[in-house]
């Protein structure tokens, strides 16, 4: 399975995101408080660029007037119609079983391991020609 180097870790600080093209697919890569996430940048509803939407906490309520806000759960809200998707699983809030967007594994790899030519790692299209992989840095790697 191919894995793609997206950027150096310092290029995607907490609270930022980056839309990358990996093997013809648009994918959003997020850093939320040091945790990395990646989702297909296509809303399953009508194809909007989902990963350009707002990142929101979860709001639930047992009855009118009571709000239970959970900022630790992150929901990505589609910019077109407001559908919410769990950043971790890609599942929609309203129909998690059937309406979902593809999540991808994101890892941080050292340049040393990448340079050592670990099998399957492609210093991938986005950075391969502009950013030499150096052994002393860490890189964000997406596995589609």
């Amino acid at each position: 399975m191919k894995r793609y180097v997206v950027c150096q870790t310092h290029e995607l600080p907490p609270g930022t995101r980056r839309i990358v093209d990996i093997d013809g697919r648009s994918i959003g890569v997020f850093n939320v408080d040091g945790e990395y996430y990646a989702l297909r940048n296509t809303c399953p509803h009508q194809g909007a660029a989902l990963c350009t939407g707002s990142l929101l906490g979860e709001v639930r309520s047992p009855c009118p007037g009571e709000y239970r806000y959970d900022g630790s759960r992150k929901l990505l809200q589609c910019p077109w119609h407001g559908w919410e998707f769990d950043l971790t699983t890609g599942q929609s809030w309203f129909d998690p079983a059937r309406t979902r967007v593809r999540p991808y594994d994101v890892t941080v790899e050292s340049g040393r391991s990448i340079a050592a030519g670990r099998e399957g790692v492609v210093p991938g299209p986005y950075v391969a020609e502009t950013l030499p992989v150096t052994v002393d840095d860490d890189y964000i790697v997406v596995t589609p």
């Binding site: 009855c63 009118p64 119609h81 407001g82």
Partner: protein, 363 residues
């Protein structure tokens, strides 16, 4: 009751109107203080009743009530109950108390009309059940009236008019909704009323027909309010009936509410399930009027789209006349569905014991 319909089982007629009691008829049910108040104020009865069903309008059917109280009650028995012991009719006597400013007068009239109505039921036929008036503009007083009468076995529903100053999901109505829930009585939202708002969402119409047909929109606004304001989350055992408001609009309403909820639900996070789920679970609708050709395929498609056999209830809407025959619709339904619409759904809603299966005649 038509004699030529094929659905042979018993009926619960969930929308039957008694003649509006005169001020004199209410006298015995009012205190001396309120009788004097009525006499000195020149009060002749609520305008809301004649406003929503003008006596001369084709739909009003007033000739079936014109022969005086005794004749009207005979007509109720003949048209709505027939011979079956299992038959039931849920009667109401809308008095327009929602129009009245003075809270205590509004409440006194509600009580008087209810006591008059329960006496009329008792004296006429034990198969008559009652939908009681409350002053919805004063939810605390409405709750007191519900608590006062809920112990009477004939009382099966709280009658409120479709037209309001604020829709029924609003939190100002919590005392009313709570009382309906704790007493196990559905909130019966019925055509009409004369709140201080226009009868349409876009202002005052010029003609009666605009108001008359526009009530379908008012009903949808009420259901939308009850769902999105979270009334069914706050009062999980609350049940609502839509009476004389049509029902063929239900599939499109459910679709629209579900569709928009997917993206706008954060504003109303207590709505944790698709709105149509709450509607199917908590709401029933009377089948008269039928806003579709009763003999065409459209009406069957609409029933399929509702997605539940449990939500429609038979009603004649006596004495009002519509151009569609609800019994003819029952004849077109599959037997199990017809039986639910004719009897079972209303029996569940109003706490009527299930009817025995119709007996084959033995010769």
């Amino acid at each position: 009751m038509s004699s030529d319909h094929h659905h042979g089982g018993p009926l619960i007629d969930c929308d039957v109107h008694l003649p509006t009691p005169t001020v004199d008829q209410l006298g015995p049910y009012l205190s001396e203080h309120w009788r004097e108040y009525i006499a000195t104020a020149g009060f002749k009865g609520s305008m809301a009743v004649t406003s929503t069903h003008p006596p001369g309008a084709r739909s009003s059917g007033h000739e079936r009530l014109d022969g005086g109280f005794a004749e009207a009650m005979r007509n109720v028995r003949r048209h709505c109950l027939g011979e079956s012991e299992s038959a039931r009719a849920v009667v109401s006597a809308h008095y327009g108390v929602e129009t009245m400013g003075p809270p205590d007068f509004s409440t006194a009239l509600s009580r008087a009309v209810n006591d008059w109505m329960l006496t009329a039921c008792r004296d006429t036929d034990e198969r008559l059940l009652a939908s009681i008036n409350v002053p919805p503009q004063y939810p605390d007083l409405a709750a007191e009236e519900i608590d006062r009468l809920a112990g009477d076995d004939r009382v099966v529903q709280v009658f409120v008019p479709a037209r309001t100053s604020k829709p029924y999901g609003n939190r100002i109505y919590y005392p009313l909704l709570a009382a309906a829930e704790r007493n196990g009585l559905p909130l019966g939202i019925h055509f009409g009323g004369m709140s201080w708002n226009p009868p349409t969402g876009v202002g005052w119409p010029s003609y009666y027909i605009e108001e008359y047909v526009g009530m379908a929109h008012v009903m949808q606004a009420q259901l939308s309010s009850l769902v999105f304001e979270g009334a069914f989350q706050r009062f999980p055992r609350l049940r609502v009936t839509v009476l004389e408001g049509g029902w063929t609009w239900l599939p499109s309403l459910m679709w629209r509410l579900d569709k928009e909820w997917k993206g706008i639900r954060r504003e109303v996070p207590w709505v944790e399930e698709p709105p149509s789920t709450y509607l199917r679970r908590h709401v029933k609708l009377s089948i008269q009027p039928i806003d579709a050709p009763p003999d065409g395929p459209e009406v069957m498609t609409t029933i399929d789209q509702i997605g539940s056999d449990d939500v429609l209830m038979y009603a004649s809407d006596f004495p009002h006349e519509h151009l569609s025959d609800p019994l003819a619709l029952l004849d077109r339904l599959a037997p199990e569905t017809a039986s639910k619409v004719a009897y079972g759904n209303a029996a569940a809603c109003y706490g009527v014991p299930s009817a025995p299966e119709p007996q084959e005649s033995v010769r």
